[in-house]
């Protein structure tokens, strides 16, 4: 990252210079949400200060400007993930809403009694519960791919679950608990050979890996802005146009209609058919700056910095006696779930917080996975672009001291 030295990147994030409990903040909770650069924060306040207006329906100058900025985000995202058209980019509140949109819409026309859906043991609750809900209402069967003790998907088991009733597979690209990078290319290929709809939960992948939905060839790809340096309350569903065309709307209301009368309503074109009501305009505009930020540095540069950080952290953690890393897949990103022999993760979280270190403790919204590993929770460190080896050293030092108590 020669053009963007780490020092400069850290300066872009105002929060990173704050003190927490009299220590410099060390932010290792990036899988929950990343911090936001100044450009994102400023663009949101700039929208409210200078061109706040409702979009699409207005003809006045402010409405034009807001609409243009909003739609620019859509184009930028289309390019960022390599979609074919902005019709394939639907704004939501986040990954969770995206998965609910897909599941409830497909439940209305595609998924019928007796059909089968496949997910995996490492899914986030938001990629489990929506499918369970439609499985209950539509009498579908939910099947679950096994995960190995290292935290890897068992591909053979996946293949064995496929029958001629399998209609959909929904899988996480990168596990928020284990850090595992799943072989989604392979899975999607198998899906398309069997005419199975593929849904990829990209919540953890979009800020850390180059994404191209065309080369992945998935039918759906879902993600949240707040995990990629953007604001909360914005997410995206990418869907292939030919499937989205056939799908019924998720919610009814303004914006998603062409004509409304009491006898018949006709729906708007894509992507607006799926965007009922006034969207989160300010934050969508802020999201544009987050994408620009990532693109300015270059996702390849981000990836290589994060890989070296991951290796550094992995080595340091492995050198600590009495610590067990949960999730040791060969192909993983800088997410480390761990437990220690003598300190409960809950105590650990508080004690590290007292030293200014923010990490997450608990089940990370993956209770079935925790059950699988016979745990009720872990502490989790998750890295991002602005983290440094010094921070990892400080964390490891603090951890060792706490464990010696």
């Amino acid at each position: 990252m020669n053009k963007y030295p780490l020092k400069k990147i850290r300066d872009d994030f105002p929060i990173l210079s704050s003190k927490i409990n009299n220590h410099n903040l060390v932010y290792f909770d990036n899988a929950a949400t990343t911090q936001k650069p100044k450009s994102v924060i400023d663009s949101i306040s700039n929208y409210y200060k200078n061109y706040n207006a409702n979009i699409h329906r207005g003809i006045h100058t402010l409405a034009e400007k807001a609409t243009e900025e909003f739609e620019q985000t859509r184009s930028l995202i289309k390019n960022f993930i390599g979609a074919s058209s902005t019709k394939e980019i639907i704004f939501t509140r986040g990954t969770t809403e995206g998965l609910n949109l897909i599941s409830s819409s497909l439940a209305k026309f595609h998924l019928k009694e007796g059909d089968e859906i496949i997910i995996s043991e490492m899914e986030h609750h938001s990629n489990i519960v929506p499918w369970q809900m439609i499985a209950n209402s539509n009498k579908l069967t939910l099947k679950v791919i096994e995960v190995s003790k290292e935290g890897e998907i068992n591909i053979d088991h996946f293949k064995s679950l496929i029958t001629d009733k399998t209609k959909l597979v929904s899988l996480v690209y990168i596990s928020n608990t284990l850090g595992t990078i799943n072989p989604v290319q392979n899975i999607i290929k198998i899906c398309s050979q069997h005419n199975i709809i593929s849904v990829i939960d990209g919540a953890q992948s979009s800020a850390h890996k180059k994404i191209n939905v065309k080369s992945l060839n998935c039918d759906f790809y879902v993600f949240s802005a707040h995990k990629m340096y953007g604001p909360t309350g914005v997410g995206v569903v990418f869907g292939k146009e030919k499937i989205l065309e056939k799908m019924p709307p998720y919610m009814g209301g303004g914006e998603m209609i062409k004509d409304v009368s009491f006898s018949k309503t006709s729906y708007n074109d894509l992507p607006y058919k799926f965007e009922a009501g006034t969207p989160n305009i300010g934050d969508v505009i802020g999201f544009k700056e987050a994408i620009k930020y990532i693109e300015d540095i270059g996702i390849e540069n981000i990836e290589s910095h994060e890989i070296s950080l991951k290796k550094y952290a992995e080595k340091a953690l492995n050198n600590i006696d009495g610590i067990k890393i949960v999730g040791t897949a060969k192909n993983k990103i800088g997410i480390f779930s761990f437990i220690t022999k003598n300190v409960h993760y809950y105590d650990l979280g508080l004690l590290l917080d007292a030293k200014g270190i923010a990490l997450r403790t608990g089940h990370h919204c993956t209770q079935p996975l925790m059950d699988k590993f016979d745990l009720d929770g872990t502490a989790r460190l998750s890295l991002a672009i602005y983290n440094t080896t010094d921070e990892i050293d400080y964390f490891v030092d603090s951890l060792i001291k706490l464990m010696k108590r």
Binding site: H344, Y346, D347, L350, T361, R405
Partner: protein, 137 residues
């Protein structure tokens, strides 16, 4: 000793910690460690306090109209908090327990460290003491 006296004592004890987060946590862990051993058999679902991130068990005995509590937790910091609540409520009548307002949290600076999501556990613990008191009235 009334619950007010015990709370005042706790507030006094915490003064040396100068509202330092780390020292407070260490102190809580220390007092937790000093608690009497809790019978493994008492770690039943009935005695489990629901709504805490960590596991907390609380049981009681009634002697001469007064309730005596014992308990345990699987995490050290929560165990320290629990030990404070036991110190306050143990040996009191059900009425006194029900009439007690816990103010020591605010006066010790503990509230600053035990933010909203963390205090859920504390609230759940307090409720359990009061439910036990109510059912023994």
């Amino acid at each position: 000793m009334t619950t007010t006296q015990t709370q005042n004592d706790i507030v006094e004890d915490f003064k040396v910690l100068e509202e330092d987060f780390e020292m407070t946590l260490n102190y809580l862990m220390e007092i937790g460690e000093k608690m009497d051993d809790y019978d493994e058999e008492l770690k039943s679902d009935d005695n489990l306090v629901k709504g805490c991130q960590s596991k907390v068990w609380l049981s009681h005995e009634l002697k001469g109209g007064k309730i005596f509590f014992s308990g345990d937790s699987n995490t050290s910091i929560t165990k320290g908090l629990l030990s404070l609540l036991i110190k306050i409520f143990s040996g009191q009548t059900p009425e006194d327990i029900l009439n007690t307002k816990l103010y020591f949290i605010n006066k010790t600076g503990l509230c600053r460290f035990i933010g909203t999501q963390r205090s859920n556990g504390l609230e759940a613990m307090e409720n359990k003491f009061k439910i036990i008191a109510l059912s023994n009235k």
